[in-house]
Symmetry: C2
Subunit: 336 residues, 2 copies
């Protein structure tokens, strides 16, 4: 089952989307918004599945589906908690500034509480007051939406609370990160609004590619028209989504509609630190990583962060080349 | 105008409460939930004010209001961002571990992104799997609820976006904080669900006590039946709520229903670090501070953190002794 929220009102209008992303049916008779559906999931999910079945079997023709008319599946949510499950990403960031990574990072997930009140639509511009010095960057990630998760859930049990899966551009302001992290309270201004894919899907949609809380497919980032990264989200994910959810729920329950992110997808390849596309590698899911590779290799970064007019798209394809979640496609634009 | 959400459904049932907190009227004909009201504030606010006027003038009798039947005013919200505006609190924490506080902390607010998906009701127990080692503590604070705030708002303009004011117990797990802060991503597991006061009020309700984004009244914390702190929220607040909102909105807009916290209210008195109630001072708004005072004075803390069965209440009174927001009253209880 594939679901989307049309860009209509603060919380969107829920639609069921055909597996090929060509057609849709309104789900308003079942639930007006995705949050409403998640709040009553046990009752609502079978009805949405039936609608999806009818649509995919052409028993209902539906209407044309336009990804550009979508908000993020949850245009705003009650929680966005982002992990750093691809430890290669973390190692790279540290290596570039000659900082050692604590060995505990391999056993204890890093996670930050993100802002969840104002997500961007998947085709919205990234509007910023300045590009100079703020270090505007994209981060391509996988994310899951949970039901109500009890406090203290085990990593294994946590897998059953994953209701939907999507991809995300976790926009980051690299220029603001060192100052914020030095203050000790984590990210705030350095993590502006994120954008999620037009469509989120139930785990069964992913077939064999979804195994034990890990999505085994390449995540493709295209930057100003050229492929920038296609690391496989199933490789080097040190913590699966069950472990990330259990980490988040250690001292409090999680409400339905909680979004948990994987962190920037990053492959080590032959023991790290990966290779750029131009050198035959799978590339990277953010500009910061290629800058680190450049720094490690030559002493200084060459690739600059995003400037006004730069454009990034993020997409994932199944084994038949079909886009699974639709395309995130965003341009950096100056605030007027 | 005073508003509350009865503990009914995930988002509560909005009621208007009389100024003396004795009576209430359902607001269901205007807005079912406080979030719904905030999403349409310009239209809804005058209608709610009219209802409050009728209730306070006894033109409508209403029903008895029971604080124990309340959820937090927003039982879940899209954003909870907590500042540290009382820098005495920060200085004390640092002093106890011989760490110097950067001078920038006097000009650049500290703020963390809190979990907002599962707030406790004001009389809910604080349910924890363990008390040993987790360092369960309360933090008494003031908080505001905003309307839609544009990105890049100035501190001065930000004041006009404050719609409602309340108080909060920002429950903290001191035993988990050092490990989390060392990881560099801020608080997560160390900040479990917070509880807000039964009632939130519009700024005009506070009369002269509300001046330029600062609430000038003592915030009273009572611990196991004895007054523990009554620092004045109007003293030593280095950053007013306008500055805190502007900080939060530097790189993204804030959605209606955003909650911004003041951080633990703490008075320096004669250049710091304040004095316990037992020594004639105004005391403290969390156990961590008294432990720091003990550590500074004797080398080791004497007061232990909260154990199962310990109880804290937090309340604020106007100049006539009338409770403004009702009482937060919570006991620590072991998870069954």
């Amino acid at each position: 089952m594939k679901l989307a929220s049309l860009n209509n009102g603060r919380d969107g209008a829920l639609v069921v989307v055909s597996d090929d992303l060509n057609r849709m049916l309104s789900a308003a008779d079942i639930a007006h918004t995705l949050q409403e559906a998640l709040d009553n999931w046990d009752e609502v999910c079978p009805q949405l599945e039936k609608l999806a079945e009818n649509l995919n079997a052409n028993e209902e023709a539906g209407e044309p589906f336009d990804q550009a008319s979508c908000a993020s599946p949850l245009p705003r949510s009650y929680q966005w908690a982002d992990g750093s499950a691809y430890v290669n990403h973390v190692e790279l960031v540290r290596k570039a500034r000659n900082a050692e990574m604590p060995s505990s990072f391999w056993t204890d997930p890093l996670m930050y509480q993100g802002g969840s009140d104002s997500f961007l639509a998947p085709r919205d511009p990234i509007v910023m007051p300045q590009d100079d010095g703020w270090g505007i960057d994209f981060e391509a990630e996988v994310a899951v939406i949970t039901g109500d998760v009890p406090m203290g859930v085990s990593a294994e049990e946590a897998l059953s609370y994953i209701k939907l899966i999507m991809i995300v551009n976790d926009v980051s302001l690299r220029g603001l990160i060192p100052g914020e992290l030095a203050k000790g309270f984590g990210f705030f201004q350095s993590k502006p609004s994120s954008a999620f894919s037009p469509v989120c899907v139930s785990p069964d949609c992913l077939g064999d590619a979804w195994k034990e809380g890990v999505l085994h497919l390449p995540l493709v980032s295209t930057y100003n028209g050229a492929v920038f990264g296609r690391p496989n989200a199933g490789i080097d994910m040190t913590f699966n989504f069950g472990q990330l959810i259990a980490h988040a729920a250690k001292s409090r329950p999680l409400c339905s509609g909680t979004i948990i992110g994987s962190g920037t997808v990053s492959n080590k390849l032959n023991d790290g630190p990966g290779k750029p596309i131009s050198e035959g590698g799978v590339g990277y899911s953010c500009i910061a990583e290629i800058r680190m590779i450049e720094t490690i290799e030559t002493g200084t970064p060459k690739t600059s962060f995003m400037k006004f007019g730069d454009q990034v798209s993020i997409e994932m394809f199944d084994q038949d080349g079909q886009s699974i979640f639709g395309k995130i496609d965003q341009k950096v634009v100056q605030q007027s």
